[in-house]
Symmetry: C2
DNA sequence: AGCGTATAGTTTGACACCCAACTAAATACT
DNA sequence: AGTATTTAGTTGGGTGTCAAACTATACGCT
């Protein structure tokens, strides 16, 4: 099971038949090789998971992007923006408006470093810690849902593979 | 190994030590719970894979987004834009400029339907088929790289899980 | 000291995407 | 037939992202 293509029609998404008269696509979409390829399925899964977390996190008025940022600052007090962007897998320029907003809303504190006055040190404020706590609760709920889908047995291996992909294709 | 957090420092990304004098983050970044969560690792893996395919596909002057679109049109001749956007997991409005561009560059042909003059039928032109062939070659190369990372043994299960996530969190 | 290079962060311009509002066509209801 | 509802696609507004150019500091070499 790898080279064999067969037909790869699925009904997962494609659209329920409206069968006029054999109107080209009867009932479902043919994904062709996409169905068996990692890249495509990785994208679809990631976007579904993101979407789901987005819903949870907006219940408390935050965006999912903020969550990783806050966690990384909490875990690495005094981290610089460049280090943060690197760890977060985003360009440092993407971080500028995010940090700006977090500072403005009083979740993050930002001080120039003495030894190197180009770089900032980031830290959570007490208010930032409170928000992070709530977001973390959301995230745990989200993770429980994912765990349920993945299954306890495969979970560890699954994450291992994800990490490996990120590491070896970075 | 699941609940135990320990420390979760990794050196995968964080930045090699520049050890001034214990300057807050010595050598690596602490990812905290992120390290063990599916959502974060899913994002990182997806983005790494996307990036890698992006490099391959731009060798032939195309973007990765185009690839799934062209494949779906090839496999479902006469598909409508809405069906396409649904299968592709994008909003239909996102497709407007993409299709526009593909038509302008002569890869896709677009005809109004007779029975319902609101909808378009999309088809590849011969030129579009040629481009898709090249892109598919790229994609196969990319998949081989991913396979090497994932390992033949886990591959099938891995994709199954990705599909399940996309389906059950959609 | 002085010049060239590297680094931290910002700015700018481009894209890809989403959502909500819109237009035009089809269908359903009566 | 006439109005209301649904559907296919487009438009407009906003967001998040990257890459490249820029500013300012720091470092290295002579």
């Amino acid at each position: 099971m790898h080279g064999t293509n067969g037909s790869s029609r699925t009904n997962g998404v494609g659209g329920r038949r409206r069968g006029r008269n054999g109107e080209a696509i009867g009932l479902s979409v043919n994904f062709g090789p996409l169905a068996h390829w990692v890249g495509f399925n990785l994208r679809m899964a990631q976007e579904a998971a993101f979407q789901a977390f987005s819903l949870l996190s907006q219940e408390i008025g935050e965006s999912p992007g903020r969550f990783a940022t806050l966690t990384l600052i909490a875990r690495n007090p005094g981290i610089s923006q460049t280090e943060l962007s690197l760890a977060n897998g985003r360009d440092k320029s993407s971080l500028t408006p995010v940090v700006e907003d977090l500072v403005k809303r009083g979740l993050v504190e930002r001080k120039r470093m003495d030894s190197d006055r180009r770089t900032y040190r980031l830290n959570l404020t007490p208010s930032g810690k409170r928000v992070l706590t709530m977001l973390t609760r959301c995230a745990r709920r989200h993770e429980r849902n994912l765990d349920r889908v993945i299954g306890e047995r495969d979970r560890k291996r699954f994450i291992q593979i994800l990490k490996k992909i990120a590491a070896e294709l970075g």
